[in-house]
């Protein structure tokens, strides 16, 4: 333990700040944490890693006073503290930025920043003073906006920075970031890294929760890994632990991460999905796109490029207003997902797992079966669980969904397993074209790996696959062809399966060229160049 502390870079004399020791917490008799510890020293960036359901969120909730531990101690420096509420934790300088944004979209940046603590003059909020007060904080995190701008104008990455600024206004000494990078671009990440390093150097301790190990290694000096609510690693210096070790620590077994792409070139079949000059009610114009049978086409772009919207138009959740959509060589009219499934065997694994991908309150079997009931029902719609079972058991098994019962509600599964269920229903439906929209966002390494394998195997078996992802590494790794989208248009198309660096460079060039041509000034709002 002492060794680790001494070696931790950036630890100024290793002054402990927030220390959670041997924390146990159970919910309704189920242990979420057992003797878990998280020990921070002043001026470090500390990674907190674990699969979904490993207890990270519970630990964070305890550190911020949302939950109270059943056992164990919390110390700030040498002083033992008891956080009775989130407010109490904030008073001790512990602030948290959650994965879900908690901004009031209709409020200005200044209002969001100082929400609940607006400067008051004679009982009225002094708007001018608020704007004045807010400006330096925005400056500090590099948000070059007028404080009066509405928060809805911010990109997800900028919103993240605003949340951090909000935490800073509370003079926090410990900043907990819960998956801050799950929906931001590479450029925004680089910017965030700069801000976090500055904060660290000025003495703030930062906890960084992320599934992306590259980011963890780029940013953090030590790591605490949780599995099943217990510490597997407690503040281990990352200089001594390999990525493979971390993965092994997280999942509790050795997994050979899936690596494919260029190595095994697939022989693509005939064109299955063809878009010819398609425009949509959502704002696409002249979109040409072809996906062959047995081919993975990666659709890459920044958030807001119109990729999800295109997928929605293909499955009939939005109207196609011009051009032609062909499926299996024939012109197709898809009015809704029912048509897409029934007549064209198109499946869509939604990016919005909780609201559109799954019915969280319903059982696993009902969720997976939904796409096949129509096919399996007898006369007058008679159906039974036994009749559905042979069709949903294989995909569940293939994806290795970890569950107790097929009758348990999907909402009780971990994020990764939920995503597997969301994909399993389209495997059960025997879709010939499958659109995966951000299939690995917010899921753990093992589940991510399982999704990657599944997508590759499906393509090997002849399924046409359109893979929408904001994770360029994932796209490069999986796709046979990469289509770059920006501003609801196709910007570029290139062969997949190559090296990451040159592909990444060309993709970014395409995107910057397009954005510079379209809106020359809008992207200066965030400090630093949009491309790295």
């Amino acid at each position: 333990m002492n060794d680790q502390l001494r070696e931790a870079p950036g630890a100024k004399g290793s002054i402990p700040t927030l220390v959670l020791q041997n924390i146990s917490k159970a919910f309704g008799g189920v242990a979420a944490l057992t003797d878990a510890s998280l020990e921070l020293v002043r001026g470090e960036i500390h990674a907190l890693i674990g699969e979904n359901g490993a207890g990270k969120s519970t630990l964070i909730n305890i550190a911020t006073g949302v939950h109270r531990p059943d056992r164990g101690t919390i110390r700030i420096g040498e002083q033992v503290v008891h956080f009775s509420s989130p407010g109490a934790a904030a008073e001790h300088g512990v602030a948290v930025v959650h994965q879900e944004r908690n901004l009031v979209r209709k409020f200005s940046l200044a209002e969001n920043l100082l929400l609940g603590r607006q400067p008051v003059n004679k009982g009225l909020v002094s708007y001018r003073k608020m704007v004045e007060d807010a400006a330096p904080w925005l400056e500090r995190v590099g948000l070059r906006f007028d404080p009066r701008t509405e928060a809805s104008q911010l990109s997800p990455g900028q919103a993240q920075l605003l949340e951090i600024a909000k935490a800073l206004t509370r003079r926090c000494q410990v900043l907990l970031l819960d998956e801050p990078t799950s929906s931001i671009t590479d450029a925004e990440f680089e910017h965030l890294v700069g801000i976090l390093r500055e904060l660290r150097d000025s003495g703030t301790s930062i906890v960084f929760v992320s599934h992306k190990l590259e980011e963890v290694y780029a940013l953090c000096s030590r790591a605490t890994v949780l599995r099943d609510g217990r510490n597997v690693l407690n503040g281990a210096p990352l200089s001594e632990v390999s990525q493979g070790d971390i993965v092994r620590a997280m999942v509790g077994r050795h997994i050979e991460l899936f690596a494919s792409g260029g190595a095994t070139k697939r022989a693509a079949g005939p064109a299955h999905l063809e878009l010819r000059g398609v425009s949509t009610e959502l704002g696409h114009h002249g979109v040409d796109l072809t996906v062959h049978r047995g081919e993975i086409v990666g659709l890459y772009g920044l958030v807001g490029a119109g990729r999800t919207e295109l997928a929605r138009a293909i499955v009939g959740l939005a109207k196609i207003t011009g051009g032609e959509l062909r499926v299996a060589g024939k012109p197709a009219k898809v009015r809704n997902p029912y048509d897409a499934l029934r007549h064209h065997r198109i499946g869509y694994v939604s990016e919005d797992r909780k609201d559109e991908g799954l019915i969280l309150t319903h059982s696993i079997s009902r969720n997976v079966g939904m796409t096949v009931w129509k096919r399996l029902e007898a006369k007058f719609g008679w159906i039974s669980e036994t009749r559905v079972r042979p069709h949903i058991a294989p995909p569940l098994q293939r994806l290795d969904v970890r569950m107790h019962r097929v009758s348990q509600p999907v909402g009780s599964l971990s994020g990764g397993n939920q995503q597997k269920v969301s994909a399993a229903k389209w495997i059960a439906a025997e879709a010939e074209l499958l659109i995966f929209d951000e299939p690995t966002v917010g899921i753990d390494v093992a589940a991510k790996d399982a999704m990657h394998r599944l997508i590759a195997e499906l393509a090997d078996d002849g399924t046409a696959i359109l893979l929408i992802s904001s994770d360029l590494r994932e796209v490069v790794q999986l796709a046979d062809r990469i289509v770059v989208m920006g501003d609801f248009r196709i910007l570029d198309e290139l062969e997949g399966g190559g090296q990451y660096a040159p592909i990444s460079e060309r993709v970014m060039q395409a995107i910057t060229a397009a954005t510079l041509a379209a809106q020359p000034d809008e992207h200066d709002a965030i400090a630093g160049s949009p491309v790295h």
Binding site: G53, G87, A236, P337, H362, K374, L376, V406, S414
Partner: protein, 362 residues
Amino acid sequence: MAASAAIDGQLQASAPVPRVWPSAIERVREALGTQTSAIGLIFLIAITWTAFGIAGSGFLGSYNLYSIGQLAARDAVLGMAQAMLIVVARMNLAVGSIGAVCTSLLGYLLVSAGVPVWLAFLLVAVVGVLAAVLMGVAELMTGLSSFIVTLAFLSAYAGGALLFTGGRQYQISSSIVTRLGNGTLFSSAICPLVAIAIVCGVACWLLYSRNSLGWKMLAVGANERAARASGVNVSRVVLAAYALSGLLCAVATVMNASYELNVNAGFGSDWLLPSFIAAVLGGVALTGGEISVTGILLAALFFDSLQSGLTIINVPSYWIELPEGLVLLVAVLLDRARRARRRTMQPRSATSTPEPDAVVAQ
């Protein structure tokens, strides 16, 4: 490396794979486990019957039990009519007005037109279904909430029924109808209408547990977006739910008319409250996606036992409406408590989403 050894030390043999597919017995047990509201209702009914049996004379007499059964049978069918739309996360405020339309038509056909009974029943069913489907079409075309749409049709249908009959009374004399509502079944304490309610209940149970339409209705009610994205034809399912609701309104009309016999277009104006009480107290989630047919039958029985008991102990009729309203309020509160309890029973999902108060750090 020390870290590596620590990891190895933590590696444990994975737990044995549990039986993922429940056996038939386990399925029955799971189904019973979800019937908490039904079990609670059986207790409530037992308490009510005991209390009024002691306090009010004649409560447990066959004459009184007969009339409780008569009313509860109709209210149970009304509860099912309401539940059909609550299940798909909608509601039918026009149950009573569809009842008024159907009652007027039934009276006209049997009394004025002299149509055979079976044909009259058939036509009433068709009109009930059409009246409800029309509301469904209006909802889907306008995109308004079912609350607004059915509220509009509530007054339109009630007015239409009055216009059609011109306020006439119809004295139904058909022996089949009379025997249905005033005859006896097995014992002098049981009205044949009870059998109709049970048949409807069995049909509903089959729909929701063994028919893909029922499964789709539950899916649409629980999460319409997800159901649509998974290839469920949501419009068709919603229209079917309206149609079934209308059909059950028509059945309730015939039941009601069969014991009242002297009917007019004002019938149905007091159906809305019992329809909600039977459904919600019976355990149908107001948010949609859940059903308990047994619960509906029992809730109707409880509700009408309570009403009858209050009458028997001479509570003035003006006061009886107060407990009616209270029962609905309690039912809604129970519904919310059930939901809250279920949330805490899923610790994993509860811990992975930050509670809203986590951000109110001041």
